[in-house]
């Protein structure tokens, strides 16, 4: 019968055309999302210039320069003698190579195609490129869980979320730029393996995990989250052979690949961060064996086997657990690294590791920062969680677990809101997509134009299902009905009847759609504002707008440029550790301490020197071969992040190692003060003198615009240091150590101050520099 066949064929071709159109639309939307993600991160390049931001990116930039100049073997074996003088730093073994290798590869590829981009340009634009990749990976992950509509929604939201923008603007050349892409892509491959059970995707998953290990120390999140999810699946009775295929090869291959990266090395099998994965590996094998034997035996025999195994197995388990606990308990930190411990116990860092506690990124976030960073998503996420439960699949339970753990960690450290951002975006994308789906469906089914199957509000739905079901069984003669149903674009019949039961009235659903669009509009406006105003400052160049015009403060680069051109190659510069990376990268000088902060004692030495009186500080710096000392001073223009405000950390860190620095000596009524009420130890310290030397000449009174009072000691001379350079707005001040006098006649003449007596008082424990 040709007629029904042609109708089936034409409805089939209509379906194919519809699918093709859908695919093209999807691809085009993904392209637009990519363009959006890239361009929203370009505000800093437009407002300032194409420059590397902050502190850490300068180190990565320097490493990438070295890689591009000397090749990969030199990079792998590089021992850097220009930082942490005189200790040096093994770069090959202590840096996460993913970011630099990625940017180096892009640079090499472009240059071999004769597109002569400089290393700096490639470094600046690496982050926006990888955020494009991250949004596409989000689309793939959400599509695996809930379908392409939710995927597109989630990808759009991630392209704009301010939390991710803050760490991936053009110029923010830091590990998170590629690590977030690797995180989402690894999760996508894991979910894909879980859904399909294909060993091919399991291999790709392990390779993507390897890329994540190369890129960021946060890979421990993955290697603990996935075992948690496997355990959750086992406990809730969702064990399947796909779970085994998704997890077991990942652990074996992943551990090996992680051990390949020099930074991780044998930590991949010896630290507590990885023990959870091994434990769940064993548990999974036990469960798989149990299910296999259950399939072989009859139920009665299976019960017998279980009782037998449990008695023997428990005994063995207890013995093994006792050995493991004894091993772990014997190490002081129970096998965990300091950073992981500070995540699990938020108060750990403030008690034991002042350096971790001093970084502002490691403080717990305030409530407003949640609204600033993920905005509207904060209340769309619970709707997404509910939507994940109807129906609950392995993939959606994984997303819920990911969200819950990342919410906890984001509450411990502000910096980890970045890990929360993809989870929040995915769940909000799911929520919004479901909401739009319900509302548009209810509007579609209430249109009066089509045939009587889709009549008014959902009232008559009880008899129409049986009607349409009968229709589906009489295929050949009802080709009209079938064509009409196809032209509505519906899926199988019983699905459609279910949808009809969820129908809302037409008016409210139109209002609902309008309101959702307005909500998304608010989100977009906020994201663009946050990207333009809040997160695009390069912090190496400052701007301010005042009544007499627009000012640009380029003092940092001025100072580093002076250092680069007016000092010898081998001169050593001492400053607080914040500026180490910038000094080595831009001024090309050897520094004493830098942002890597791996040696607490060395940092404490510099802190002690800054907090000591001039002569003691000179002794300390001379023993380290320092020639120049650099301080940041914001008192003239009101820049609040200067060294006087950071001074409390110098005292605390120095005091934690050298007992002659006592914090109480610097406090007056519990405050650090530099005016006339300040303690004499404070007013005699090197930091005070270097910052405020000749400051009184600027306005005659010495009014500090940050601290908002006049300084205490106004007229003083420096005996052991001489000023060599002060930048235009007095933000960076560079001093040189005066060489020792040739002749010392009799008693050394120096100003009698409390320092000698306080040092004599400490008696037994003398500092090594006296």
């Amino acid at each position: 019968m040709p007629e029904p066949q042609s109708s089936v064929a034409s409805s089939g071709s209509v379906d194919r055309l519809r699918n093709a159109f859908g695919g093209v639309l999807c691809t085009f939307t993904l392209l637009l999302i990519g363009v959006l993600a890239f361009s929203i991160r370009l505000f800093s390049v437009i407002k300032y210039e194409s420059v590397i931001h902050e502190f850490d990116p300068y180190f990565n930039y320097r490493v990438t320069q070295f890689l591009s100049k000397n090749g990969i073997y030199e990079f792998w074996n590089w021992f850097d003698d220009r930082t942490w003088y005189p200790l040096g730093r093994v770069i090959g073994g202590t840096v996460y190579p993913g970011l630099t290798l990625t940017a180096g590869t892009i640079w090499w590829l472009l240059n071999s195609l004769n597109i002569p981009l400089s290393v700096e340009t490639v470094c600046v634009f690496t982050a926006p490129i990888f955020s494009v990749n991250a949004s596409w990976a989000t689309y793939l992950l959400t599509k695996e869980t809930k379908g392409p509509g939710a995927g597109l929604m989630a990808a759009t939201i991630l392209a704009m979320v301010p939390s991710y923008i803050s760490r991936s603007v053009a110029g923010s050349y830091d590990n998170e730029a590629v690590a977030i892409f690797a995180l989402i892509f690894t999760f996508y491959l894991y979910v894909k393996t879980l859904n399909t059970g294909s060993l091919f995707y399991a291999t790709l998953n392990a390779l993507s995990y390897f890329y994540m290990v190369c890129s960021w120390g946060g890979y421990t999140f993955i290697i603990n989250l996935i075992p948690m999810h496997v355990l959750l699946c086992i406990v809730t009775g969702r064990y399947s052979s796909r779970l085994y295929i998704a997890y077991a090869p990942l652990i074996v291959l992943g551990t090996l690949l992680a051990a390949l990266v020099p930074v991780v090395g044998f930590n991949a099998v010896m630290t507590s961060e990885h023990f959870a994965s091994f434990l769940v590996f064993i548990i999974l094998h036990v469960v798989a064996l149990v299910y296999y034997i259950k399939g072989l035996l009859t139920p009665r025999l299976f019960k017998v086997a279980m009782t037998f195994v449990i008695t023997v197995g428990l005994a063995v388990c207890f013995a093994a657990a006792a050995i493991l606990v004894a091993l772990i308990a014997s190490s002081p930190t129970k096998g965990w690294s300091g950073r992981s411990l500070s995540l699990l116990d938020p108060t750990y860092a403030s008690k034991y590791i002042p350096i971790i506690a001093s970084v502002s990124e490691h403080q717990p976030p305030t409530w407003p920062s949640y609204f600033m960073d993920i905005n509207v998503l904060a209340f769309l996420v619970p709707a997404g969680i509910i939507s994940c439960f109807l129906p609950l699949s392995d993939a959606s339970s994984f997303l819920v677990l990911y969200l819950v753990t990342s919410v906890y960690f984001s509450g411990v450290m502000v910096r980890l809101m970045l890990v929360l951002a993809p989870a929040a975006c995915i769940l909000s994308g799911i929520a919004l997509s479901e909401a739009f789906g319900v509302l548009t469906r209810s509007m579609k089914f209430q249109r009066p134009t089509l045939d009587d199957v889709s009549s008014t509000a959902g009232d008559g739905s009880s008899d129409t299902p049986t009607n349409s079901e009968m229709v589906s069984k009489e295929k050949p003669s009802k080709k009209n009905r079938k064509k009409d149903r196809d032209s509505e674009g519906s899926s199988p019949v019983d699905h459609r009847t279910e949808e009809k039961l969820l129908v809302l009235p037409c008016g409210p659903s139109a209002v609902g759609i309008m309101l959702l669009i307005i909500l998304s509009g608010f989100y977009v406006v906020h994201c663009v504002w946050a990207a333009a105003e809040a997160y695009s400052a390069p912090s190496i160049v400052l701007t301010s707008r005042s009544h007499d015009g627009f000012h640009v403060f380029d003092d940092f680069r001025e100072a580093y440029g002076w250092l680069r051109h007016n000092t010898d190659v081998d001169d050593k510069v001492a400053s607080w550790w914040d500026y180490g990376y910038q000094t080595t990268a831009m001024a090309n000088k050897t520094v004493i301490v830098d942002n890597n902060t791996w040696n607490n004692t060395h940092i404490a030495t510099v802190g002690t020197a800054m907090a000591s009186p001039e002569k003691a500080a000179w002794e300390i710096f001379n023993s380290l071969d320092v020639k120049y000392v650099l301080v940041i001073f914001g008192g003239l223009i009101g820049y609040p992040s200067d060294d006087i405000n950071k001074f409390l950390w110098m005292v605390r860190i120095g005091g934690s190692v050298f007992p002659q620095i006592k914090e109480a000596d610097y406090l007056k009524d519990g405050n650090y003060r530099v005016d006339t009420h300040g303690t004499s130890t404070m007013l005699n310290s090197l930091m005070y003198k270097l910052c405020y030397y000749r400051f009184v000449e600027t306005d005659g009174k010495g009014f500090d615009r940050v601290r908002r009072y006049e300084i205490g000691k106004k007229h003083f001379k420096l005996t052991h240091f001489e000023e060599v350079f002060t930048t235009h707005h007095w933000m960076v001040r560079i001093y040189k150590l005066k060489p020792q006098k040739n002749r010392v006649r009799g008693k050394l003449k120096f100003k009698p101050s409390s320092k000698t007596s306080s040092m004599r008082k400490t008696g037994g424990k003398k500092s090594p520099w006296q």
Binding site: G197, S198, L199, F200, A202, T203, A206, L207, S240, S241, R242, Y244, I245, A248, P249, V252, L253, T255, L256, L257, A259, L260, F266, V269, A288, I293, G295, L296, L297, T298, L301, V304, A305, F308
Partner: protein, 114 residues
């Protein structure tokens, strides 16, 4: 007590009978897994005798054994005709995936062996 021993004997007998009914290709894979695990145990015993330096060689040796065992178990899962989830996966595809994954694993092992 005697009931327990007779139960245990009955258990082992029925396990043996049920296992004998599995197809030959699956039994070959099981034999391979047993061989690989035995190799791993021999390596651990050797490490106990002579010490664990160089540690990366020991780790790569043991993990290569465990890795091939895991991959062989995955192959067995995918090739097993009783497994309803994989009934439309051709066994050639399963074997190709197995070979690919083994290649990646051994590439990493070769690199890590030192």
């Amino acid at each position: 007590m005697p009931r327990a021993t007779s139960d245990a004997k009955l258990l082992i007998q029925s396990l043996g009978k049920a296992y004998a009914a599995t197809p030959t290709n699956l039994k070959i894979i099981d034999l391979y897994v047993v061989f690989v695990v035995a190799t791993a145990l021999i390596q651990v015993a050797y490490m106990g005798l002579v010490g664990s330096f160089p540690f990366n060689s020991f780790l790569s040796g043991v993990l290569s054994c465990i890795g091939t065992a895991v991959l062989a178990v995955c192959l067995r899962i995918q090739v097993n005709k009783d497994n309803k989830e994989f009934k439309d996966l051709p066994p050639e595809r399963a074997f190709a995936d197995f070979v690919l994954c083994n290649l990646v694993l051994h590439l990493v092992i070769m690199n890590f062996l030192g």
